[in-house]
Protein backbone atom coordinates (compact mmCIF):
# COMPACT_ATOMS: atom_id res chain seq x y z
CA UNK A 1 0.00 0.00 0.00
CA UNK A 2 1.42 3.36 -0.99
CA UNK A 3 1.47 5.85 1.89
CA UNK A 4 3.02 8.78 0.14
CA UNK A 5 2.96 9.33 -3.58
CA UNK A 6 4.28 12.26 -5.50
CA UNK A 7 3.41 12.97 -9.15
CA UNK A 8 5.09 15.43 -11.52
CA UNK A 9 6.39 17.43 -8.59
CA UNK A 10 8.29 20.69 -9.01
CA UNK A 11 9.64 22.85 -6.21
CA UNK A 12 11.26 26.25 -6.07
CA UNK A 13 13.61 28.04 -3.74
CA UNK A 14 13.65 31.83 -3.59
CA UNK A 15 11.43 31.96 -6.67
CA UNK A 16 13.72 29.81 -8.83
CA UNK A 17 12.69 26.28 -9.77
CA UNK A 18 15.18 23.74 -8.44
CA UNK A 19 13.55 20.36 -9.08
CA UNK A 20 10.94 19.32 -11.63
CA UNK A 21 9.24 16.25 -13.03
CA UNK A 22 9.77 14.33 -9.81
CA UNK A 23 7.57 11.31 -9.20
CA UNK A 24 7.99 8.62 -6.59
CA UNK A 25 5.95 6.66 -4.15
CA UNK A 26 6.69 5.35 -0.72
CA UNK A 27 5.02 2.24 0.68
CA UNK A 28 4.38 1.37 4.29
CA UNK A 29 7.37 -0.39 5.77
CA UNK A 30 9.80 1.17 3.32
CA UNK A 31 12.41 3.88 3.46
CA UNK A 32 13.55 6.10 0.63
CA UNK A 33 16.92 7.80 0.80
CA UNK A 34 17.30 11.01 -1.21
CA UNK A 35 20.74 11.76 -2.52
CA UNK A 36 22.25 14.50 -4.59
CA UNK A 37 24.92 17.18 -4.41
CA UNK A 38 24.59 20.26 -2.21
CA UNK A 39 22.05 22.71 -3.52
CA UNK A 40 20.16 20.22 -5.68
CA UNK A 41 17.02 20.83 -3.64
CA UNK A 42 16.78 18.05 -1.06
CA UNK A 43 15.85 20.39 1.78
CA UNK A 44 13.49 22.37 -0.45
CA UNK A 45 11.73 19.18 -1.50
CA UNK A 46 11.31 18.04 2.08
CA UNK A 47 10.09 21.46 3.25
CA UNK A 48 7.56 21.48 0.42
CA UNK A 49 6.34 18.01 1.30
CA UNK A 50 6.04 19.07 4.93
CA UNK A 51 3.76 21.90 3.82
CA UNK A 52 6.09 24.76 4.73
CA UNK A 53 6.04 26.12 1.20
CA UNK A 54 3.81 25.63 -1.84
CA UNK A 55 4.84 23.37 -4.73
CA UNK A 56 5.26 24.84 -8.20
CA UNK A 57 3.51 21.93 -9.86
CA UNK A 58 2.45 18.37 -9.21
CA UNK A 59 0.42 16.55 -6.62
CA UNK A 60 1.18 14.87 -3.33
CA UNK A 61 -1.15 12.31 -1.88
CA UNK A 62 -0.87 11.01 1.64
CA UNK A 63 -3.25 10.40 4.51
CA UNK A 64 -3.99 13.60 6.46
CA UNK A 65 -2.00 14.26 9.64
CA UNK A 66 0.44 11.49 8.90
CA UNK A 67 3.77 13.26 8.55
CA UNK A 68 6.42 14.14 11.08
CA UNK A 69 9.09 16.51 9.83
CA UNK A 70 12.60 16.89 11.25
CA UNK A 71 14.68 19.76 9.96
CA UNK A 72 18.37 20.66 10.19
CA UNK A 73 17.81 22.29 13.56
CA UNK A 74 16.25 20.31 16.33
CA UNK A 75 13.87 22.91 17.76
CA UNK A 76 15.15 22.48 21.29
CA UNK A 77 14.81 25.07 24.01
CA UNK A 78 18.15 25.38 25.70
CA UNK A 79 16.82 26.28 29.15
CA UNK A 80 14.38 23.37 29.29
CA UNK A 81 15.51 19.92 30.36
CA UNK A 82 15.57 16.93 28.04
CA UNK A 83 12.39 15.63 29.61
CA UNK A 84 10.58 18.97 29.34
CA UNK A 85 11.60 19.40 25.71
CA UNK A 86 10.37 15.98 24.75
CA UNK A 87 7.25 16.22 26.91
CA UNK A 88 6.28 19.44 25.16
CA UNK A 89 6.34 17.83 21.73
CA UNK A 90 4.55 14.77 23.05
CA UNK A 91 1.65 16.90 24.26
CA UNK A 92 1.58 18.91 21.02
CA UNK A 93 1.14 15.63 19.15
CA UNK A 94 -1.30 14.42 21.84
CA UNK A 95 0.81 11.45 22.84
CA UNK A 96 1.88 11.15 26.44
CA UNK A 97 4.43 8.41 26.84
CA UNK A 98 7.96 9.67 26.35
CA UNK A 99 9.77 6.85 28.18
CA UNK A 100 10.16 4.54 25.15
CA UNK A 101 11.60 7.41 23.11
CA UNK A 102 14.10 8.30 25.83
CA UNK A 103 15.11 4.68 26.06
CA UNK A 104 15.39 4.12 22.31
CA UNK A 105 17.64 7.14 21.87
CA UNK A 106 19.65 6.31 25.01
CA UNK A 107 18.77 9.56 26.76
CA UNK A 108 17.56 8.35 30.17
CA UNK A 109 20.75 9.33 31.94
CA UNK A 110 20.43 12.85 30.56
CA UNK A 111 16.75 13.49 31.15
CA UNK A 112 17.14 16.13 33.87
CA UNK A 113 19.94 17.98 32.10
CA UNK A 114 19.03 21.31 30.45
CA UNK A 115 19.40 21.14 26.69
CA UNK A 116 22.13 23.79 26.56
CA UNK A 117 24.48 21.49 28.44
CA UNK A 118 24.15 18.69 25.88
CA UNK A 119 26.73 18.02 23.21
CA UNK A 120 25.79 18.48 19.55
CA UNK A 121 25.30 14.74 19.09
CA UNK A 122 23.17 14.45 22.23
CA UNK A 123 21.00 17.33 21.02
CA UNK A 124 20.58 15.56 17.71
CA UNK A 125 19.53 12.38 19.50
CA UNK A 126 16.95 14.37 21.45
CA UNK A 127 15.74 15.90 18.19
CA UNK A 128 15.29 12.43 16.75
CA UNK A 129 13.58 11.20 19.89
CA UNK A 130 10.97 13.86 19.12
CA UNK A 131 10.03 11.82 16.02
CA UNK A 132 9.34 8.81 18.17
CA UNK A 133 6.86 10.72 20.34
CA UNK A 134 4.93 12.16 17.38
CA UNK A 135 3.34 8.81 16.61
CA UNK A 136 3.16 9.81 12.94
CA UNK A 137 3.62 7.07 10.31
CA UNK A 138 5.61 9.04 7.71
CA UNK A 139 8.94 10.46 8.82
CA UNK A 140 10.47 13.17 6.66
CA UNK A 141 14.05 13.64 7.78
CA UNK A 142 16.54 16.22 6.62
CA UNK A 143 20.15 15.17 7.28
CA UNK A 144 19.23 13.29 10.45
CA UNK A 145 22.72 12.03 11.21
CA UNK A 146 24.62 15.31 11.33
CA UNK A 147 27.00 15.31 14.34
CA UNK A 148 26.11 11.76 15.37
CA UNK A 149 28.90 9.29 16.14
CA UNK A 150 28.98 5.80 14.63
CA UNK A 151 27.19 4.23 17.58
CA UNK A 152 24.45 6.85 17.47
CA UNK A 153 24.03 6.41 13.72
CA UNK A 154 23.49 2.71 14.38
CA UNK A 155 21.03 3.62 17.15
CA UNK A 156 19.21 5.89 14.73
CA UNK A 157 19.15 3.24 11.98
CA UNK A 158 17.72 0.83 14.55
CA UNK A 159 14.99 3.34 15.42
CA UNK A 160 14.13 3.79 11.74
CA UNK A 161 14.05 0.02 11.29
CA UNK A 162 11.70 -0.32 14.24
CA UNK A 163 9.50 2.39 12.79
CA UNK A 164 9.38 0.64 9.40
CA UNK A 165 8.63 -2.70 11.03
CA UNK A 166 5.69 -1.03 12.77
CA UNK A 167 4.17 -0.12 9.41
CA UNK A 168 5.74 3.33 9.12
CA UNK A 169 7.65 4.88 6.26
CA UNK A 170 10.61 7.23 6.10
CA UNK A 171 11.91 9.72 3.57
CA UNK A 172 15.49 10.62 4.41
CA UNK A 173 17.84 13.13 2.79
CA UNK A 174 21.40 12.25 3.65
CA UNK A 175 24.96 12.09 2.36
CA UNK A 176 26.28 9.25 4.47
CA UNK A 177 25.56 5.56 4.49
CA UNK A 178 23.01 4.88 7.20
CA UNK A 179 23.47 1.14 7.13
CA UNK A 180 19.84 0.80 6.07
CA UNK A 181 20.41 -1.77 3.35
CA UNK A 182 16.72 -2.31 2.76
CA UNK A 183 16.16 1.36 1.89
CA UNK A 184 15.86 2.31 -1.77
CA UNK A 185 17.85 5.25 -3.04
CA UNK A 186 16.62 8.10 -5.22
CA UNK A 187 19.22 10.35 -6.79
CA UNK A 188 17.75 13.81 -7.37
CA UNK A 189 20.38 15.00 -9.87
CA UNK A 190 18.39 13.98 -13.01
CA UNK A 191 15.41 16.00 -11.82
CA UNK A 192 17.32 19.25 -11.61
CA UNK A 193 15.10 22.00 -13.07
CA UNK A 194 16.09 23.53 -16.39
CA UNK A 195 16.66 27.27 -16.36
CA UNK A 196 14.02 29.35 -18.19
CA UNK A 197 16.56 29.99 -20.97
CA UNK A 198 16.78 26.25 -21.58
CA UNK A 199 13.02 26.09 -21.84
CA UNK A 200 12.34 25.24 -18.22
CA UNK A 201 9.35 26.48 -16.30
CA UNK A 202 9.10 29.98 -14.92
CA UNK A 203 9.15 30.20 -11.17
CA UNK A 204 6.72 32.38 -9.32
CA UNK A 205 8.90 35.42 -9.88
CA UNK A 206 7.21 37.70 -7.37
CA UNK A 207 8.00 35.18 -4.65
CA UNK A 208 11.51 36.53 -4.58
CA UNK A 209 10.09 39.74 -3.18
CA UNK A 210 8.02 38.18 -0.46
Amino acid sequence: MSMLSVEGFAVSRGGLPVLEGLSFSLDAGHALVLRGPNGVGKTTLLRTLAGLQPALAGTVSMPPESMAYAAHSDGLKSTLTVRENLGFWASIYATSDIEPALERMNLQSLETRPAHSLSAGQKRRLGLARLLVTGRPIWVLDEPTVSLDTASVALFAEAVRGHLAGGGAALIATHIDLGLNEASVLDLTPFKAKTPEEGGMQGAFDEAFL
Binding site: G51, A71, G75, F88
Partner: protein, 218 residues
Amino acid sequence: MIALLMRDLRLAVRAGGGFGLGLAFFLIVVTLVPFGVGPEGKILARIAPGILWVGALLACLLSLDRIFALDYEDGSLDLLVTAPVPLEGVVSIKALAHWITTGLPLVVAAPVFGILLHLPQGAHVWMVISLLLGTPALSVLGTFGAALTVGLKRGGLLLSLLVLPFYVPTLIFGAELVRRGAEGMNTETPLLMLAGITAATVALVPFASAAAIRVNLR
Protein backbone atom coordinates in the same frame (compact mmCIF):
# COMPACT_ATOMS: atom_id res chain seq x y z
CA MET B 1 -2.16 24.39 23.31
CA ILE B 2 -1.91 24.50 27.08
CA ALA B 3 1.44 22.75 26.75
CA LEU B 4 2.61 25.56 24.49
CA LEU B 5 1.45 28.19 26.98
CA MET B 6 3.18 26.39 29.84
CA ARG B 7 6.35 26.06 27.78
CA ASP B 8 6.42 29.76 26.91
CA LEU B 9 5.77 30.80 30.49
CA ARG B 10 8.44 28.43 31.73
CA LEU B 11 10.91 29.77 29.19
CA ALA B 12 10.09 33.32 30.24
CA VAL B 13 10.87 32.77 33.91
CA ARG B 14 14.02 30.71 33.35
CA ALA B 15 17.40 32.37 32.97
CA GLY B 16 17.54 34.77 30.04
CA GLY B 17 13.80 34.60 29.59
CA GLY B 18 12.88 38.25 29.70
CA PHE B 19 10.22 38.09 32.39
CA GLY B 20 10.41 41.35 34.30
CA LEU B 21 12.20 43.16 31.49
CA GLY B 22 9.11 45.21 30.65
CA LEU B 23 8.38 45.83 34.31
CA ALA B 24 11.91 47.11 34.96
CA PHE B 25 11.67 49.40 31.95
CA PHE B 26 8.29 50.69 33.16
CA LEU B 27 9.79 51.41 36.58
CA ILE B 28 12.70 53.30 35.01
CA VAL B 29 10.38 55.50 32.92
CA VAL B 30 8.13 56.26 35.85
CA THR B 31 10.96 57.15 38.22
CA LEU B 32 12.85 59.26 35.68
CA VAL B 33 9.93 61.39 34.52
CA PRO B 34 9.56 63.32 37.83
CA PHE B 35 13.27 64.14 37.65
CA GLY B 36 12.86 65.51 34.17
CA VAL B 37 9.59 67.38 34.66
CA GLY B 38 10.21 68.60 38.17
CA PRO B 39 8.58 67.58 41.42
CA GLU B 40 5.51 69.79 41.13
CA GLY B 41 2.58 67.56 42.00
CA LYS B 42 0.02 69.37 39.89
CA ILE B 43 1.90 69.00 36.64
CA LEU B 44 2.77 65.38 37.37
CA ALA B 45 -0.82 64.52 38.22
CA ARG B 46 -1.89 66.03 34.90
CA ILE B 47 0.55 64.08 32.77
CA ALA B 48 0.53 60.87 34.83
CA PRO B 49 -2.09 58.94 32.79
CA GLY B 50 -0.27 59.69 29.55
CA ILE B 51 3.17 58.85 30.96
CA LEU B 52 1.95 55.61 32.48
CA TRP B 53 0.34 54.58 29.21
CA VAL B 54 3.34 55.50 27.07
CA GLY B 55 5.59 53.68 29.53
CA ALA B 56 3.41 50.57 29.38
CA LEU B 57 3.34 50.70 25.61
CA LEU B 58 7.12 51.01 25.25
CA ALA B 59 7.69 48.30 27.85
CA CYS B 60 5.44 46.04 25.81
CA LEU B 61 7.27 46.91 22.60
CA LEU B 62 10.61 46.03 24.17
CA SER B 63 9.92 42.32 24.32
CA LEU B 64 7.89 41.90 21.13
CA ASP B 65 10.69 40.66 18.90
CA ARG B 66 11.19 37.68 21.19
CA ILE B 67 7.73 36.29 20.46
CA PHE B 68 8.70 34.41 17.30
CA ALA B 69 12.38 35.19 16.73
CA LEU B 70 13.66 32.74 19.34
CA ASP B 71 11.47 29.93 18.02
CA TYR B 72 12.60 30.75 14.50
CA GLU B 73 16.27 30.62 15.40
CA ASP B 74 16.21 27.21 17.04
CA GLY B 75 13.92 25.72 14.39
CA SER B 76 10.93 25.08 16.60
CA LEU B 77 8.76 27.49 14.59
CA ASP B 78 9.16 25.22 11.53
CA LEU B 79 8.22 22.24 13.64
CA LEU B 80 5.24 24.03 15.20
CA VAL B 81 3.93 24.97 11.76
CA THR B 82 4.06 21.32 10.69
CA ALA B 83 2.59 20.12 14.00
CA PRO B 84 -1.11 19.26 14.35
CA VAL B 85 -2.02 22.58 15.95
CA PRO B 86 -3.58 25.46 14.00
CA LEU B 87 -1.07 28.25 13.49
CA GLU B 88 -3.70 30.83 14.40
CA GLY B 89 -4.01 29.07 17.75
CA VAL B 90 -0.24 29.07 18.19
CA VAL B 91 -0.20 32.82 17.55
CA SER B 92 -3.02 33.43 20.03
CA ILE B 93 -1.29 31.38 22.70
CA LYS B 94 1.98 33.18 22.10
CA ALA B 95 0.19 36.51 22.46
CA LEU B 96 -1.40 35.30 25.68
CA ALA B 97 1.97 34.18 27.04
CA HIS B 98 3.45 37.56 26.09
CA TRP B 99 0.61 39.34 27.84
CA ILE B 100 0.97 37.26 31.00
CA THR B 101 4.70 37.93 31.18
CA THR B 102 4.57 41.59 30.13
CA GLY B 103 1.09 43.12 30.26
CA LEU B 104 -0.22 41.55 33.44
CA PRO B 105 2.75 42.65 35.63
CA LEU B 106 2.23 46.19 34.32
CA VAL B 107 -1.45 46.09 35.26
CA VAL B 108 -0.55 44.94 38.76
CA ALA B 109 2.28 47.44 39.18
CA ALA B 110 0.55 50.49 37.69
CA PRO B 111 -1.27 51.63 40.87
CA VAL B 112 2.01 51.52 42.79
CA PHE B 113 3.87 53.38 40.08
CA GLY B 114 0.97 55.84 39.87
CA ILE B 115 1.88 57.06 43.36
CA LEU B 116 5.32 58.06 42.08
CA LEU B 117 3.61 60.27 39.51
CA HIS B 118 1.02 61.78 41.88
CA LEU B 119 -1.77 60.05 40.02
CA PRO B 120 -5.01 61.38 41.60
CA GLN B 121 -6.63 59.04 44.10
CA GLY B 122 -9.73 58.27 42.06
CA ALA B 123 -7.74 57.53 38.91
CA HIS B 124 -5.92 54.44 40.19
CA VAL B 125 -8.84 52.14 39.62
CA TRP B 126 -9.29 53.54 36.11
CA MET B 127 -5.60 53.07 35.40
CA VAL B 128 -5.91 49.38 36.26
CA ILE B 129 -9.10 48.98 34.24
CA SER B 130 -7.69 50.74 31.19
CA LEU B 131 -4.45 48.72 31.23
CA LEU B 132 -6.34 45.50 31.80
CA LEU B 133 -8.53 46.24 28.81
CA GLY B 134 -5.86 47.74 26.59
CA THR B 135 -2.66 45.70 27.04
CA PRO B 136 -4.05 42.48 25.47
CA ALA B 137 -4.49 44.47 22.25
CA LEU B 138 -0.83 45.54 22.48
CA SER B 139 0.35 41.94 22.75
CA VAL B 140 -1.87 40.67 19.94
CA LEU B 141 -0.96 43.52 17.59
CA GLY B 142 2.65 42.86 18.50
CA THR B 143 2.43 39.31 17.20
CA PHE B 144 1.58 40.72 13.79
CA GLY B 145 4.69 42.88 13.73
CA ALA B 146 6.77 40.02 15.08
CA ALA B 147 5.37 37.66 12.45
CA LEU B 148 6.17 40.10 9.64
CA THR B 149 9.76 40.52 10.79
CA VAL B 150 10.46 36.91 11.74
CA GLY B 151 13.61 35.73 10.01
CA LEU B 152 15.00 39.23 9.60
CA LYS B 153 18.26 39.87 11.34
CA ARG B 154 17.84 42.80 13.73
CA GLY B 155 14.23 43.26 12.74
CA GLY B 156 13.58 45.16 15.97
CA LEU B 157 13.63 48.64 14.45
CA LEU B 158 11.36 47.66 11.60
CA LEU B 159 9.09 45.92 14.07
CA SER B 160 8.74 49.08 16.17
CA LEU B 161 7.99 51.20 13.10
CA LEU B 162 5.39 48.72 11.88
CA VAL B 163 3.63 48.26 15.18
CA LEU B 164 3.63 51.77 16.68
CA PRO B 165 0.92 53.22 14.38
CA PHE B 166 -1.36 50.36 15.35
CA TYR B 167 -0.77 51.15 19.01
CA VAL B 168 -1.96 54.75 18.70
CA PRO B 169 -5.74 54.14 19.07
CA THR B 170 -5.20 52.00 22.15
CA LEU B 171 -2.96 54.68 23.63
CA ILE B 172 -5.43 57.48 22.91
CA PHE B 173 -8.45 55.76 24.38
CA GLY B 174 -6.52 54.21 27.27
CA ALA B 175 -5.08 57.51 28.45
CA GLU B 176 -8.36 59.30 27.80
CA LEU B 177 -10.20 56.78 29.95
CA VAL B 178 -7.86 57.42 32.89
CA ARG B 179 -8.02 61.19 32.44
CA ARG B 180 -11.81 61.23 32.40
CA GLY B 181 -11.94 58.84 35.33
CA ALA B 182 -9.59 61.08 37.32
CA GLU B 183 -11.75 64.12 36.67
CA GLY B 184 -14.97 62.31 37.43
CA MET B 185 -16.32 62.69 33.90
CA ASN B 186 -18.36 60.19 31.92
CA THR B 187 -16.06 57.29 31.00
CA GLU B 188 -18.40 55.21 28.93
CA THR B 189 -17.21 56.22 25.45
CA PRO B 190 -13.44 55.61 25.86
CA LEU B 191 -14.17 52.47 27.86
CA LEU B 192 -16.29 51.02 25.07
CA MET B 193 -13.85 52.10 22.36
CA LEU B 194 -10.91 50.54 24.22
CA ALA B 195 -12.80 47.31 24.80
CA GLY B 196 -13.91 47.30 21.17
CA ILE B 197 -10.37 47.73 19.85
CA THR B 198 -9.12 44.91 22.04
CA ALA B 199 -11.98 42.57 21.12
CA ALA B 200 -11.50 43.24 17.41
CA THR B 201 -7.71 42.73 17.47
CA VAL B 202 -7.94 39.56 19.54
CA ALA B 203 -10.49 38.18 17.08
CA LEU B 204 -8.86 39.21 13.79
CA VAL B 205 -5.11 39.78 14.15
CA PRO B 206 -4.09 36.12 14.84
CA PHE B 207 -5.23 35.24 11.31
CA ALA B 208 -3.08 37.99 9.82
CA SER B 209 -0.09 36.97 11.97
CA ALA B 210 -0.42 33.32 10.99
CA ALA B 211 -0.57 34.26 7.30
CA ALA B 212 2.54 36.42 7.71
CA ILE B 213 4.44 33.55 9.34
CA ARG B 214 3.48 31.16 6.56
CA VAL B 215 4.79 33.59 3.95
CA ASN B 216 7.98 34.24 5.90
CA LEU B 217 8.84 30.57 6.35
CA ARG B 218 8.80 29.78 2.63
